[in-house]
């Protein structure tokens, strides 16, 4: 089969920085190629180069052929004719790709008419057809809406509709689902699959999410430091990787389908800056298999199997990482060895991995045996915001029920994961706790004190014992302060001596080099910054740590190190964590208990394995089933419980059960009499297991992650 799109030896440089250094790839009709890499690996630049969308300062070399026709250096007029017709693109952020002032239907019709000679009427009809194809409800009506009236998921569907408007041969998708919630991601991926079936196009899917690739791609190309380091079929890459980087990526992923708690295996160090690459193999400074020969020159892509190539001189010795294998285990090649060099490199991320494993074994408890002392208790918390309209005369047009009666408790030494999609109210809940103010309704008790009855001195005392780590360390660290001042700040605020020794101790505790205390946050990489934020939070030796999405802003290979650090710190210092996240895999890995929020209420709460292995609430079930697992075989056999539509507006929640408009059970399994209860009565959280409760009238536990039916 001749490839539709063939890229050979593509190079892109901006000034002195070589962002892409020799990428070759090809896709054939009907094939999906996944391009995986961390930020800065050059994957998005590659896509932009193929589309001819690079900024003017970029220098491009190599060749990009579409149906054998060279695109690089082709006149702009020809490129414009191809773009959108033969090749089309789906971006990460659909709002910036759609023109805000035109109606969605008109924009699609426009896309059709640019490349084909059809009448206005015909184009409009085609636009509605396309909207219907991508699953937009009431397409005729919605075609007349403007982009801002669509939710993120719906906008992405519109983008897909535009991308397939002219039956393209190649669709390039750049992180198409990264900005979306998991349930919406599942819907959009489904639409993409359908679009591909309809058009038979080749798809290049660029993403950092190995789970998405496992379920969707036929072949995978792994990029690192601007170059492909491994190419092969999806099964080869996931089950028989030959490049240490790929192995490392797979080993560092927390997974929702793994109950047994192994510490993750982080890749040490950070990806190299494109301007300062190591002399030989770009992965050498982080590679556990590194030998001197690696530094002699950049390894080419070796043919390591049928259709599989890897850029590693020791590929024959590389073995996939098996779950259960421990750090420092001598049996497996990954990630053994390489510990002598660790001290030499100041920011070795892996220092805590082994400890974390031991810590887990100690710190974890079984369902039913919860610790006794409560550090945080939330009862029936309610938070509403007025919904204001009008530019001149502001008037109240409604109420946003952001949090509508949430109750949970957190015991000493426990980690409670609070998960939910955007708009679920998890952040509002968190802020209510952190404010230490009297809640609108309900009660918040922090460390035994009711927040409604706190004096100034009391709340200062509580703040000392409750610290917070935010999602984006770049935003939560004052850019104008040195790391020393940042870490010392809580000490000073509470009148404690902030000596250089204490700060150095704290930095060492989180695995940073204390001699870097004079630096500013911007001199650190993302993972290191988050460590600084953690060091600051630990300065006062708190009892309760509130973590707001602490790893979601970090790259995959860095994430594991921070997760391990959190786990080991918890065990060593006896901390309790309230861990707010949208990533369910991370929560499964770190939490003891989990509370799933939906539209301001708790849908399900309980011991983490119980909830993940046998979720009882239909929402939890669909949420878990929507999460892609980095395991192609399992992905192929899984069935997704797809939710319909978007999250209802919290300003106007449905009556009765707040999930009923999207509930698959309500839609297809219940009889009319049974539905009656869902519509009229709001379900309470009722126990369904030893330590598991669900807010559903018809809760029923079933395993949705692993294929296999209903659990008892």
């Amino acid at each position: 089969m001749t490839p539709v799109l063939q890229v050979t030896d593509l190079t892109v440089s901006f000034g002195d920085v070589r962002a892409v250094r020799g990428v070759s790839l090809e896709v054939s009709r009907g094939e999906v190629l996944g391009v995986v890499g961390e930020s800065g690996s050059g994957k998005s630049v590659t896509a932009a180069a193929v589309m001819g969308l690079l900024p003017p300062g970029a220098r491009v070399g190599g060749s990009v052929r579409l149906h054998g026709k060279e695109l690089l250096g082709a006149p702009e007029r020809e490129l414009t004719a191809l773009r959108g017709k033969t090749v089309s693109m789906v971006f990460q952020d659909p709002l910036s790709a759609l023109t805000p002032v035109y109606r969605v239907g008109d924009q699609i019709a426009e896309a059709v008419r640019v490349h084909r000679r059809v009448g206005k009427e015909a184009a409009a009809v085609r636009a509605v057809e396309l909207l219907d194809l991508v699953g937009i409800p009431r397409p005729g009506e919605r075609a007349a809406a403007f982009p801002h009236e669509f939710s993120g998921g719906m906008r992405q569907r519109v983008m897909i509709a535009m991308a397939i408007a002219n039956d393209p041969d190649v669709i390039i998708c750049d992180e198409p689902t990264t900005a979306l919630d998991v349930t919406i991601q599942a819907q959009v991926l489904e639409v993409l699959k359908k679009a591909q079936r309809e058009t038979g196009a080749a798809i290049v899917l660029i993403t950092h999410d190995l789970g998405v690739v496992a379920g969707f791609a036929d072949r995978v190309l792994v990029m690192y430091a601007g170059r492909p380091v491994e190419v092969g079929s999806v099964d080869d890459i996931f089950y028989r990787p030959r490049m240490p980087y790929t192995v490392g990526l797979l080993a560092s992923l927390p997974r929702i389908d793994r109950g047994e708690r192994q510490p993750l295996v982080p890749i040490e160090g950070n990806p190299p800056a494109p301007g300062a690459l190591p002399p030989g193999c770009p992965f050498a400074p982080r590679c556990p298999l590194h030998v001197e020969a690696c530094d002699e020159g950049e390894p080419p892509l070796f043919e390591v199997g049928p259709g599989q190539r890897a850029a590693c001189i020791r590929w024959e010795e590389v073995r996939p990482w098996a779950p259960g294998q421990r750090t420092g285990d001598e049996t497996g090649l990954w990630p053994a060895g390489r510990h002598a060099g660790e001290e030499a490199r100041p920011w070795a991320a892996g220092r805590h991995a082994g400890e974390a494993g031991r810590a887990r074994a100690r710190g974890r408890h079984e369902a039913g045996a919860r610790p006794l002392r409560t550090v945080l208790e939330v009862e029936n918390l309610v938070k509403e915001y007025p919904l204001m309209r009008g530019a001149v005369f502001k008037h109240r047009v409604g109420t946003v029920h952001a949090v509508a009666g949430v109750s949970f408790d957190l015991r000493e030494g426990e980690t409670l994961g609070l998960v939910g999609e955007s708009g679920s109210g998890k952040t509002t809940t968190l802020m209510q706790i952190l404010e230490l103010a009297a809640p609108q309704e309900g009660r918040v008790t922090v460390l035994g004190r009711d927040t409604a009855r706190l004096g100034r001195a009391d709340s200062t005392a509580i703040r000392r014992d409750m610290q917070v780590v935010f999602q984006d360390p770049l935003a939560s660290l004052d850019p104008r302060m040195t790391v020393h001042d940042i870490v010392a700040e809580p000490l000073r605020a509470h009148g404690l001596p902030a000596s250089g020794r204490r700060v150095a101790e704290l930095l060492t505790l989180v695995g940073l080099d204390p001699s870097h205390a004079a630096r500013y946050p911007q001199d650190f990489s993302g993972g290191q910054r988050q460590r600084v934020a953690i060091a600051r939070a630990l300065a006062l030796e708190p009892r309760l740590l509130v973590l707001d999405e602490p790893v979601s802003a970090l790259d995959v290979s860095i994430r594991a190190g921070v997760i391990n650090l959190l786990a080991s710190l918890k065990a060593r210092l006896g901390l309790s964590y309230l861990f707010v996240a949208h990533d369910l895999a991370v929560v499964r890995h770190i939490a003891d208990r989990v509370a799933v929020m939906h539209l301001g209420k708790i849908a399900e709460i309980g011991q983490v394995d119980a909830v993940y292995d046998a979720p009882a609430h239909p929402y939890t079930q669909s949420l878990l089933s929507a999460i892609p697992v980095p395991d192609p075989a399992r992905e192929r056999t899984r069935t997704r419980i797809l939710l319909e539509g978007d999250l209802p507006s919290p300003a106007d929640p449905p009556s009765g059960c707040r999930f009923r408009t999207r509930c698959p059970k309500f839609r297809s399994e219940l009889t009319d009499e049974e539905r009656e209860a869902c519509v009229t009565v709001e379900p309470e959280v009722l126990p369904v297991g030893a330590d598991q409760g669900a807010a559903c009238h018809y809760a029923e536990r079933r395993d949705v992650v692993r294929p296999g039916g209903i659990v008892r």
């Binding site: 917070v468 935010f470 850019p479 870097h516 946050p521």
Partner: protein, 300 residues
Amino acid sequence: MTLSGEELAEEAVRDVAPPSRLRVVTRRFFASTQGRIGFAVLALMFLLAFAGPLFTPWSYTDKDFTAFMQPPSATHWFGTLQTGSDVFAVTLRGMQKSLVVGLLAALVSTALAALVGAFAGYFSGWTDRWLSWVTDLLLVLPAFLILAIMSPLFGAGQWVLFVVMLALFLWMVTSKIVRGMTISLKQREYIQAARFMGVPPVRIIARHVLPNLSSLLIVDATLNVSAAILTETSLSYFGFGIQPPDVSFGTLIADGSRTAVYAPWTFWFVAGLLVVTVLAVNLVGDALRDAFDPGAKGRR
């Protein structure tokens, strides 16, 4: 790691004391050529203004009745004025006044702008309403008129009052900008993080809000130095402000400009020193701004 990064790391190891912001900023300030030159020039100017009179037999009130309007010579280094005053002596006297008035007025006005703006923006509510009201009131009052009316009060030795008045009419616009920026800074996560850590509000303003507005404030202060010197100059030019027999750059320039054509020494020495002062202040301001901003290339 870049080369400068390595240097920094090495230095930090040697430096055992906690590397707090003050030290780092000071080090970065003096590491830049701009900062060093600016600081040196300013220091020289002060030295000249306050120690210079010791080296000349003439004081600014002395008049040499044997030399009117003489060009620079061995007895009168900068020449003499029509009245027989020694230009060197009066220039230094004027410089004492103008340096102090200019720098102080600029610092006071920027500090006022920063504090009022930051408090109004951070606390909102009634604090904000009151402070904004005062700001607006001062903004609509014609500053020049009031200064002119009040200037008879600034007799001998009243220059402190003069500084305060000057500052009082320079701060409002900056304060409004600071208020706006504080409101947006308040939403930033690091401010929230400090709040949740239990840092008291006044301390948050001092340690987080103001340092993050430092670029704006430093630029503002730099501009204010020139503005204050020039306002004082124009006030003096109209006969308000500093009154004879005392002199300032303003009065000297005003007098000198009349005779500048045929007796350039009466004008150019003063004008030159004023330009050098303003330039030095600008250099210091730029260097300080870069030193505060970790993003700037501080180590050249």
